[in-house]
Subunit: 140 residues, 4 copies
């Protein structure tokens, strides 16, 4: 299985748009970090919903890569996000992601997002479903 | 109720981060457009999930502003997104948004997203719930 | 493709637990009806959430059978339900179901539920994803 | 706060339709059990989706009653359910429910459902949002 450093290198090459950083990759899990700047803000000085969703989506993707390796094609099919608290704009958003079910075709995971240093007060909770196409060629 | 131009001015002032443009605002509905560039892409030359979510979230917000006016505080509480087809990176993403239920506290709406010119082949479907805090001060 | 009567016969044989009745089957769509009795009630004299969900789930299943035929194995993978209004216990619940995307492996549909006679005041909105296993044997 | 026995008595009186039994009530959490019989089955000899949803919905309701007491009016506004594995019809379904966020108006919780004795192989995962109307009269 790929290491955290290999997944980071893969993300930087394949997905340069994301500012999301891999903190750690564990067994069917990942912890990611996203800095907050102007692009991530919305009215009221808080973090925008799509920015939060991006953290969860990348974090679950990282957990999947850590579990099944970096070759197959993986696409998000469903995301359900509940916004729980207004995150501060002053702290990075952390995404604590774990896989609930790794099936042959569908993988389901959940993510708890929180402002760095405050893991017991999650700002959002996400459940996502990913489709794995084992016959697709890798993105090169 | 505010006009489409007033909502556009409000968005530009309050939410300069979004590239989403208001095409029209109707009865409990809105049509928005989002250009696609480097920032919205993801591996495979398609539009990223969070970029799609942002179109739906802004579009539903616009439909709500058109319905209840621009004063109250409105926050997304839940979004559920199903990704249906890979959108092309060559076309703007359009968001056709309508409100399903306008309650005293909670408003529920749905959005169908498609690549410009191809409304019968939606790329994503979103249902969102918004909380209206009527006692909050407007964002100024 | 199967007729409405054939789908009704299939449901009665395979799924005798459901009280849901097929009203009509159209192109990628179905209308179903569910009577409301003691079993479907919950505190407050309204219809329980699971009873509503069952109407949507059977209705979307019927729409899928009408589209792809009755042979393949179809399983629900995700359901998202928003409860919009308290339904009366005095009227049947109707489920107006349509498919949004019919893919090779995944089918996504939505359902609008309402108390009979009041289609413009939906009581719940559901989006469901179904997995089709084309290689499975039919339930016999 | 109410005891497990008080919540059981409340459920039996107010909600005689449910077969769901309270196993325990903890801090912002509950464990419930649902026997499986003819009514809960669906084609293929497995447990129906609505039956699973009912376990989660009652379990989260029990966790909420344990947290805020039995007086206020509580209504489900959103449920998102992912079906993970086919449950056996031979075992009770257990619902391990915990609250993620207890707000003034909205409460969000999640439930992991499994066949009795097999908690590490969940059959479904549910996230639900509940609206609390503090001014409503209790159901008497």
């Amino acid at each position: 299985m790929p290491t955290s450093a290999e997944i980071t290198a893969f993300l930087e090459k394949e997905f340069p748009q994301t500012k999301c950083m891999v903190e750690s990759v564990g067994e069917q899990s990942a912890l990611v970090r996203h800095p907050i700047g102007f692009d991530e803000l919305r009215p009221g000085g808080t973090v925008s919903g799509p920015a939060l969703m991006a953290v969860a989506d990348v974090g679950l993707y990282v957990a999947i890569l850590g579990e099944i390796g970096m070759k197959p094609f993986v696409a998000t099919t469903n995301l359900n996000i509940n916004f729980l608290r207004m995150p501060t704009a002053e702290k990075d958003i952390m995404g604590d992601c774990k896989l609930i079910k790794v099936g042959r075709t569908l993988i389901v995971g959940e993510a708890s997002l929180y402002s760095d240093g405050n893991p017991t007060k999650p700002v959002a909770h996400i459940v996502g479903t990913y489709y794995v196409d084992w016959e697709a060629k890798p993105n090169e």
